[in-house]
Amino acid sequence: MANRTVSNVIGRVRALLEDTRADSYRYSSDDLLNGVNDAFLEVRRIRPDLYIHKGFDVDDLTVDSVFPIDVQYFMAVVYLTAGHVMLRDDPNSNDSRAVSLLNKGISQLQSTAA
């Protein structure tokens, strides 16, 4: 997978959320895209060095956008996005799992072994 895109992130998030049936998505693609954009804001806050070549600007991404930071943080963004959308007040969501995912995403941004 040479050039990962935002749609790859959304696909991985759907797999984590067990939300892969296209005819009955629990989380709409727009919700997940918003989650990805919010996750990148968090990345920008915690790791500004990853945005050094962009003048520290965070662009609004679409599903076709290329993954905008170093690809080694792909899974961190997946965890942050999944955790973020799971915080929604929803009978299917699991708050403790959401917090675990958020913490895992943040830990991956800040430490080597996470």
Partner: protein
């Protein structure tokens, strides 16, 4: 001889292996800052240019090369004469030859203005690295090849020092940062000494001041003991 430049890809690769979690752009940016400090402090990168003096022309360009920019002067000469930068003590008066630096070292103005053409003006400028981050592009660090081969370890360890000194990153390591910073200072001292001695083994009594002293060397100022 014109300076040959090389992209710092192998240095960045060595740094990526030692800095898990660091992005290439951040490494390149820090490497450029370290290289700037190294060249500015050590005077190891000198560009010499010559041009004919022109009667009535006081200002002359300073050599400006790819990815390098002047930050000081070793000497400015014309024929048998030397020009000196103005000194604040006011000791230099009369017809003494002087030069003033214009703007960001992009040209110099000679005083008095040359009245005859024909002599060759020679400018030896200390160079340092230009800023590498401009909007929208990933930084590309182009280093002078000769100095890079000679001082590669200095760039690697200097960048490790600054990167490991970052807070809350996977590669944060303040103790190793201090270790690599000492190594970087050592490399700078050695590079400056060898440059001052024309890359021979001659001894020059130069060292960066070390106010805190060390257990071995004691304080750097005389104690009277």
């Amino acid at each position: 001889m014109a300076t040959q430049f090389t992209e710092a890809q192998d240095i960045i690769a060595a740094l990526k292996a030692r800095l898990p979690g660091a992005g290439s752009d951040a490494i390149a940016f820090e490497l450029s800052l370290v290289a700037q400090e190294f060249f500015r402090e050590t005077f190891t990168w000198v560009e010499t240019s010559t041009r004919p003096l022109v009667a009535g022309q006081a200002s002359y360009d300073v050599p400006d090369v790819q990815s390098g920019t002047p930050c000081g002067f070793i000497y400015v000469r014309a024929g048998e004469s030397s020009y000196y930068a103005p000194t604040p003590i006011g000791a230099v008066t009369g017809n003494y030859l002087r030069f003033e630096i214009n703007g960001s070292f992009n040209s110099i103005t000679l005083t008095p203005t040359p009245t005859a053409s024909g002599e060759t003006l020679t400018v030896a400028a200390v160079m340092t690295l230009r800023d590498v981050v401009e909007g929208g592009d990933s930084p590309i660090v182009m280093l002078p090849r000769e100095q890079t081969v000679r001082n590669k370890q200095a760039f690697i360890e200097g960048t490790l020092a600054t990167m490991m000194g970052h807070a809350n990153k996977p590669y944060s390591n303040p103790r190793m940062a201090a270790f690599y910073f000492r190594r970087f200072r050592f490399h700078m001292t050695r590079a400056k000494r060898t440059a001052m001695t024309g890359y021979t083994r001659a001894n020059v009594p130069f060292a960066f001041p070390n106010p805190a002293g060390s257990k071995r060397g004691g304080p750097w100022f005389p104690t009277g003991a």
